[in-house]
Amino acid sequence: MKRALAFFGAPVVLLARTTRATAREGLGWRECLVQLHELGGRSVWLVLSGMAFFGAVLVTIANSQARRFVGNVAVLGPAYFELLIRELGPVVSAVLTASRAGAGHAAELSTMGVNEQLEALEMSAGDPLADLVAPRVVAGLVGVPLLCVLGTVAATLSAATVAQLGFGVDGRAFMDPRYVDVWDLLAAAIKAVACGVYIPLAAAVAGLRARGGAEAVGEATTDGVVAASLGCLLIDFAVSLAFQLLRL
């Protein structure tokens, strides 16, 4: 019970404190751009290649499911495309970003913590929340939705290619946006933005807590990446459930 409360509460408290510290200290736009470049440059190849493989798997699964009950992947294609846009594109991209960026942020912040660089920053009138956490959150807020779009495009292209070459179906049948409406795009956008805010916060909670030696760094990195990945799944579940209950 205590752990569950800490799991949900700590990122919220950190977000509130970071917002307040940033309102007081101001936000360094240059640092935000640097963090965005770090996040994007580090994660983009992982997200693109991972999602390309995932798209190929998805169309293979759709194909074997379709042969069982509707005959042809071209029939199931548009429904799977809606599924990819609304659910799988944002979430799998976000989990991949979480494994890269969450682990990276937690490792960086906890290394600074055990080397007493955070104290040094406070001594020189800096604020760790405004100077370190806020730029990462802004970078996540902007970067993760962009990565989700790129990942979804990569998955779609690879799925269409596999359908065309592997199963002899017109690849464009898979990319048919017949069922995609504005609510699907809204659900995808909410998921991507929420994950983008949550990933840096979860990593920062684990990273800033680390005290001790090299052992604490390893533990903080593990905790940060587990919390970030699990949080992305939870966000996906909550948003999907809300849309399902509202019948959108």
């Binding site: 995932f54 799988l88 990195t221 593990t222």
Partner: protein, 269 residues
């Protein structure tokens, strides 16, 4: 004149250098993984029993709550997703089959693999990196003990066993949560859900999922061990080892997922 002759050279040099560096890194990683695998197999007869039990508790038993949460989430998410397209075709009765197929074949193994790569992969890499950075592995070698038999082989074996044990457990929890979610959200009676589930899925579908999770477990254990043992430096190296173990584990899982799906789908049909 000189600028013109140098320009194409500079344009070619960047990508070529990138491809070369990537290929070298890939070859180095594959070599390290092969070395870890081979030395683990050689170390199997002299396996340290106590370390094996400790690693089983740490990697298997301690991961049970996380695996259970992942399974429950995966089950409900798969129902929400398959509900989306199953209802489009007015084939609500087939939800049990579609959701069971999805969780056994794709989302159960994939999500469990990604979460466990974050949990046991990162932890294993961080611990081994810590021992390596502290010179303790050198120390073992110095007093004439084989670190692979004492430290590495028990961990690899324990991670693989834990993943296999967690996989069947995960599938069970996920399917129960699927049935409950289908009952509450789509008003599908449990009898109908399990009816199509039992009719249209066979033991082979379960074997497909377990094979996938087992392969992912092998990838996670070998990759994280290789990354952890090659760490050099101080606290920074430990963090970097944990982070890079997760990333490489995830990349390996996605590649293996495609290969296994193609191989198993070809073999089934």
């Amino acid at each position: 004149m000189s600028v013109d002759s140098r320009l194409p050279h500079a344009l070619v040099e960047g990508p070529v250098r990138g491809v070369g560096a990537f290929t070298l890194e890939l070859a180095r990683s594959l070599g390290a993984i092969a070395l870890v695998a081979a030395r683990t197999v050689l170390g199997l007869p002299r396996l340290e029993r106590r370390e094996l039990v400790r690693a089983l508790v740490q990697f298997g038993y301690d991961s049970v709550p996380l695996a259970m949460a992942t399974a429950a989430l995966a089950g409900v998410i798969v129902v929400l997703q398959s509900g989306l397209y199953i209802q489009r075709f007015g084939a609500r009765a087939f939800l049990g089959w579609a959701a069971g197929y999805g969780v056994l074949w794709e989302f159960g193994p994939l999500l469990l693999g990604l979460i466990m790569s974050a949990r046991i992969g990162a932890r294993n890499a961080a611990e081994l990196a810590l021992l390596q950075v502290g010179g303790q592995i050198e120390g073992l070698r110095g007093i004439g003990l084989d670190p692979f038999a004492i430290l590495v082989a028990p961990r690899v074996v324990a991670m693989e066993l834990s993943m296999l044990a967690l996989s069947t457990f995960t599938f069970l929890v996920a399917i129960v949560f699927e049935a409950v979610a289908a009952y509450f959200m789509l008003d599908l009676p449990l009898r109908v859900f399990f009816g199509t589930f039992a009719q249209m899925l066979g033991a082979l579908d379960l074997v497909g999922g377990v094979v996938k999770v087992g392969t992912f477990g092998l990838a996670i254990s070998l990759v994280s061990t290789a990354v952890g043992l090659s760490a050099r430096g101080g606290a920074r190296a430990v963090g970097q080892a944990a982070a890079s173990a997760v990333v490489r584990g995830c990349a390996a899982i996605f590649v293996l997922d495609l290969l296994l799906t193609l191989a198993l789908a070809g073999w089934m049909s």
